[in-house]
Amino acid sequence: METKETTANIQKPEKLVITSSPHVHNTESVTKIMWIVNLTLLPAAIFSVINFGLPALITMLLCIAGSAACEAAIQYWRKVKVTVSDGSAVLTGLLLAMCLPAGIAWYVPVIASVAAIGIAKHTMGGLGHNVFNPAHIGRAFVMASYPVAMTTWAVSRIGNSADFAGAMGKVADFDVVTGATPLGILKQQGYQALVDSFGGQSAMYKALFIGNTGGSLGETSAILLILGGLVLVIKKYIKWQVPVVMIGTVALFTWIFGGKVDGKLVYFTGDPVLHILSGGLIIGAFFMATDMVTTPLTTQGQVLFAFGCGLITVLIRLYGGYPEGVCYSILLMNALTPLIDRYIFPKKFGSLPEPVTRS
C-alpha cells in the first residue's frame, strides 16, 4: 500500500454550524400551515361575496385588517417580534368574518377582531398560548354585545335572483336585504314553515348544499367548505376523525331528538341533513374544531372533543336560547381541553404488555 506524502490538502470550510441533532427537517412550518388554511377558506369566502355582495367583502376586510392591525399593535407595544406575516391573525380575521352576518355595522367586526386578538389571543401570550379559539371569542363577544345586529341576516342574492350571472351583476349592490337563517326559522316557526319557505324538501337541501340561503358569510356554502376541508385532510393538517365525529354526532342526535309532530317530541323523526348543512356546523367542524392550539393533543382526545362539540351544538340548537350553537359548543369544549389532555394521553412504549421478566 502506498503512503500519501502529505496530509490532506482540501480546502477546510471556514465556519461550521454546530447544533445538536437532528440536523434535518421537513418542509412544514407554522407560516405555511396558516396560509394554506387561509387558502382553503378562500373559495367559500369568494362565494360569500358573490352571494351577499359588496357588504360581505367589507365585513371580511374589516375583520382581517382589524385582526392584523390589533396583533401588530400589541406586539409592537410589548416590544416582541411582530408576527403578522405568519398568517395566523389573518386566519383569525377570516374565520371571524365567516361567523358574522354580511353588511353588519362597521364597528361590530372591528370590536370582534379586537376581542379576538386582544383578549383571547394576546392576553395569554400570542400564538400557541391561547386557551380559547380567538375567532369564536370574538364572535361570542359581539353576539352578547349587539344581539340585534348579529341576528339581522342578509338574504342570499343567488337565492333571490333567477340565475348566478344575475347575482354576479349584483355584487356591487350595497343594499342588504335582511331575512332569517334556516335555523332561525326552524327555531321560531318550526320545521314545516322552513320547508315551505324553500318550496320543498329537496329544494331546501339543494339550496343549503350550494349555499344560496341566508346566514353569516361562512354558514352558507356547504360544498365549498367541505372541499376546502378535504384539502386540509389530504394535506394532513387536520385529522379526518374530527369533522366526521362532530358532524356525525350532530346528525345522530338531531335525528333522534330533533323531530316534532304537532309540537310534541317524536323520536327518530328529526332531519339530520338540514342540521348538517345549515348553520356553522361545516365550517366549525372542518376549520374551528380542528384548530391545533385550542384542541386536545392526541387523536383520541380530539375525537372526544369533536363528540362534545356535536353534543353541545345539538343541545343548544334544540333546547337553547340561540338558534345556532356551534360557536359556543367549541368554546365550551376548548374549556374542557386541558381536562381531556390530563386524562387522555398515549401510554408510553413498553408499558402495554407486562414485563416478561422482573428483576
Binding site: 500519501k4 441533532s21 393533543l297 387523536t299
Partner: protein
Amino acid sequence: MLRRIKGGVHPHDEKKSTDDKKIAVLPLPKKLFVPVHQHIGQPSVPVVKAGDEVKKGQLIAESADGRGTPVHSPTSGKVTEIGNYPHPLYGKSPCVVIESDGLDQWQEGLLTDRSWEVLSAAEMIDIIFKNGIVGMGGAAFPTHIKLSPPKDKKIDTLIVNAAECEPYLTSDYRTMIEYADDVIKGTQIVMKILGVQKGFIGIENNKPKAISLMKEKCKGKKIEVVELETKYPQGAEKMMIKAILDKEVPSGKLPMDVGCAVQNVGSLKAVADAVEKNIPLIERVVTVTGRTVKNPVNVMAKVGTPFTELFDFCGGFRGANGKIIMGGPMMGMAQVSLDAVVVKATSGIVSIADNEVDLKEELACIRCGRCIDVCTMRLLPNVLSILSEKGQHQTAQTDYNLMDCVECGCCYYVCPSRRNIVHYIRQSKAKNAMLRNAIKTGSK
C-alpha cells in the same frame, strides 16, 4: 409480509449517491490519531509510549476496569506522541498518534485461519473482547458485555439490525452486499455464543438487493430475513424488536429483558473476522456523502483517520458547507472541525450544505400534536419541551416519562414551530442528572 413500527417519520433517504458504490480502500494516511476512548464507559489506558514501534493490529490501549474494550494500532509505524486531539464525540480526547511507516505490516500471530465451529462460547467471547469489538451502529456499546447476559436472563432470539434507517448512510448496506458471508458467519457465531435457535435479519425495503442476497445466503441456516417498511427510527434497538417480534421492551429495561439480543451488521462482520482470523477491529466501512461532497463514497477507513483525509479522497467539496455530521443527520453529531477522526462508531460522515442548514427561529408550540403522532416511545414531546423551557425538569421526569426518550429526533423533524425538542429533552436530562449528583454528594 411487510413489518413496521407505529409512528416514526420518513425523511428523504438520500442514499442514491452512494448505494451502488463499492467499498473503496483509502490510501494509507501519513499520521493516524487513534483515540483511546472508543466505547461507552471509561476510556481505555494507553500501553504504548512515544517512540515505541508498533505493528498493525498491536494492542495500544487496554481497558482500565475490564468493562471497556482494548484499542489496537491500525497500521505499522512509530508512536510519536500521546496527546489530546479532536474526537468526533467527546471534544478533545487522548489519542495515540502513530506515524505510518508505509509498510502496513501485521503483527505476528494474527491472520489465523480457524473455524468458529470448534471454539466454545467462552473462548469466543474472550476473542471478541480481546479484539476490541463494539457496537458499530453508533452506540459503541462493548460487544462482549452484550454477549454475556446475566444468568437469569434467558435469551432466545438474535436480531440482526440491518435497517440502516438513517438517511444518507449506506455503510451497512455495502457491508451486507460485499461481505455477506462474513455477516452470516458472524450471526451464526453470536447465535452459538448466546445459545439461541432463532435469528432474524431486519432489512428495510429500500434495499431490495440486500434482501434478496441475504435471503439466498440464509437458506437452511435458522436465520430469517424480515422485510421492513422504510421508516425512521426503525434501526433503534427497541423499535427493531417491536417491528420484528411485536414485543415492547419495558421502560428502563434492555432487549435481554424480552429475551432478545440485537447486533449491528458491521459488528457481526467484525466478530467473524475476529473469531476466524483473529483480526482486531481497526478499520470499518464509512460512508462519506452529502450534497457538497464531490464524489460521495463508501470507504474502508482505518480507525484514527482524520476526516480531512476522507474528504480529500472524495475530491473535496463543491459549494459552501453548513454542517459536517458524524453519523446520520437524525442522530449524528455536528462536528466542530474536520480534524476529528474516524472511530469504531463512525458509520458515516455527512456534509450538509450551507443552504440546507435550517436555522429558522423557534416559535411557541402550537400544540399540533405531530410530535405525539410520530413519537415511537409514545411520549408527549411537546409537553417535555415546554416543561424544559419553563425549568420544570423534575416534573418532566416524574409525570411525563422524560427518561424514556431515545432522542431519535422525529419530533423535531415534524415540528412546524421548529422547536428543537430533543435539545430541550437533553437539557432536562442533564439538569436532572446534576440534581441527582448534588443530592448524592450532599447526602454522603
